[in-house]
């Protein structure tokens, strides 16, 4: 099943399929995501959301990263049924 990273629920794990669209002004955000290791094939686990629902904490490449949901709307994930 495919869905975007912002739709993940705590505990859910998946693999990055692609980071979509280089829209205007999105260059920094996209490059940041890449630099932090969110590239196709990387495995991501959603850990939790902040008390007010956003941002969220994910585990990627063995460390913890905080991202806002709107920043990862463009990250398409494949999550297989376990």
């Amino acid at each position: 099943m495919r869905k975007c990273l912002n739709e993940f629920t705590p505990g859910e794990t998946g693999t990055v399929v692609r980071v979509a669209g280089a829209g205007a002004g999105k260059g920094l955000q996209r490059q940041r995501l890449f630099d932090m290791g969110i590239t196709p094939g990387a495995e991501i686990t959603m850990r939790k959301a902040a008390p007010l629902g956003d941002p969220m904490e994910i585990t990627i490449r063995g460390y913890e990263l905080s991202v806002r949901k709107v920043e990862v709307e463009a990250v398409l994930m494949e999550c297989g049924e376990k």
């Binding site: 692609r18 980071v19 280089a22 260059g27 920094l28 955000q29 996209r30 490059q31 940041r32 995501l33 890449f34 630099d35 932090m36 290791g37 590239t39 196709p40 094939g41 990387a42 939790k48 959301a49 902040a50 008390p51 007010l52 629902g53 956003d54 941002p55 904490e57 585990t59 490449r61 063995g62 460390y63 913890e64 990263l65 905080s66 991202v67 806002r68 920043e71």
Partner: protein, 698 residues
Amino acid sequence: MRFALAGNPNCGKTTLFNLLTGSTAHVGNWPGVTVDRREGVYKGTPRSGVSQKIEIIDLPGIYSLSPYTPEEVIARDYILEDGPDLVINIVDSTNLERNLYLTTQIMESDIPVVVALNMTDVLRKNGGSVDARELSERLGAPVVSISALRSEGIDELMRTAAEAAGKPRNGSSIIENSCMGDAVRDIARLFRERGLTNPVFRAVKAIEGNIPRGEADLAGEIEDIKGRIELGEVFEDDFEAAAADARYGGITEKFRGVVTLLPGARGMSVSDRIDRVLTHKLLGLPIFFIFMYFVFHLTFAEPLLFTDLVTDGGVPSPGVMMQGWMGSFTEWARGAVGGAMESAGASAWAKGLVADGVFAGVGSVLSFLPQILMLFLFLSIMEDSGYMARAAFLMDRPLRRFGLSGKAFLPLLMGFGCSVPAMMGTRTLDDEKERRLTIMLMPFFSCGAKLPIWAMFGAAVFPGSAGNAVFAIYAIGIAAAVVTSIILRKTILRGAASVFIMELPAYHLPRPLNLLIHLWEKTRGFVIRATTIIAGATVVIWCLSNFNFSLDMVEPNSPGSIVGVLGRLAVPIFIPLGFASTPEAWKAVVAIVTGLIAKEMVVSTLGVLYNPEVEGDALEDETASGALAAALVASFSPASALSFMTFNLLSVPCMAAVASANGEMRNARWIWGTIAFWLLTAWCGAFIVFHAARLLGF
């Protein structure tokens, strides 16, 4: 020789830097931007066998050399343009994959590189291991295992570095093994023919879409070469994504087996367990607010919570206690200097200038020093332990609506204590625009020095509802911050809250040495400013309030003094604000003007002007403050008092804050613009408050 230290944030770079340079480090800013620039001289040991003089330059902590943030641009330009003799790349071995991402970018330059493999002890404790020799072979650069925390392996690191610095190196790219390999080699050849330095690095950047300055004529040829790359379906023509992917893919491929992590080693560590509580869905925010309450309580409270139940009057908080000592000390110094000058036969004006001008002015600013130290101690502990990142994580959502990110919350909260350390605290923000915005909003969070004004007016003009009046002032300040932040974000500081893709580092105990160095660096800047800019400003102000236009000495702040004359000239500006239409109005205006210097001076000035015959300072003396209260009731209506308070709340906070803002912004246009913004907001805010209060029947 010059060695540059490069590495991710939180990889132990600062600890290593402090270890290498000892006390020789000095901190400044990189030209043009407010990113710390730390330099020092390597303090060698006989065992290292390094005899040359080596300068160490600490580059900002970065994840990548892509030119998006000021930190990245600085690090990249330094490595490529300034050409250090060697780069020491510190790598956190507990997070090898992401740390090597930066390493592979540095390896693309022609500068010799030594990798310092840090935190191998932590990795081993978690049951993992890393093969340094194997890593070195596959990377093509020397690798030395160190523990910056236990100062292990440092001599060997420097010996290896000194050897490697002499050997020329050609850049190589991990991307050369991917489908873009031919293109990297072809473009690098073009650049090499042009005599460009670091051709491989520039070739990779050119594929990502950044052609070096001055080589625009090669653009066509580079496009042709890129046209031959077959990226495949996933990337189409997205070269930035493809390069990042090839880099991470190459790292996984190339370093497979070099590091072994026990599966699930990070699954439920101590850090995770702490985090489960501190960022808990229900407990997270309350815990954070309770923690912040104690920070402020320990810094500003008098008396300390519950101590007034045990002893008479209670025990002041450490911050207040130390401020008292500092105050007595500067007061003593002022008296001693005044006495010495008198016995040496100095004239009255010279004694006044030095004792009442410079020493009193600098003294009042320096008396903040203990509280600044306290706040920064807590701030450093939060930063060093990893809790700061969680605080930003918790507070990001509520702040984003106003164009700020979670990281701005802490400095703004500190503004309730004192704007000066709070403005210095904005350095934790990544984005220049957001940093400026946060500094501009700072005065609206009513600081401790404004409290006497609220207390005086509350008691005098709002008997029985003083608490509500003071609460209204705090609320007006927050409302002003929200409104102006939204307006600024739509105009001169256009844009949304900066991106919030932020690492949440594992928790660890703060290191005392790091805390001390951090505190020293912060305080030194403050003391230097207090003794230069502020001393100068005080001299000017003292002259304005003690002389008339024929340069004869007069009663301080009296109608005939320069300040008094200017204050009366300024009265018409304040008439629409409601408190300037009486014949005595100029006194309030002069108090506002002296309040621009320091908010403590507002009540003192009002006391002197309204009741010149009463001895004593209205700020400290009870008779004087009682007399002032009576005078205020006669001169102010509730609406005009609220207006006067609002103006003081929103205008230029004090000279120390202006100096701090200047130190952070480093731009004359911005600092003058900020001063104008404060004055304008104060005027508009007071205007609105006055008329709204009148409509509500005050």
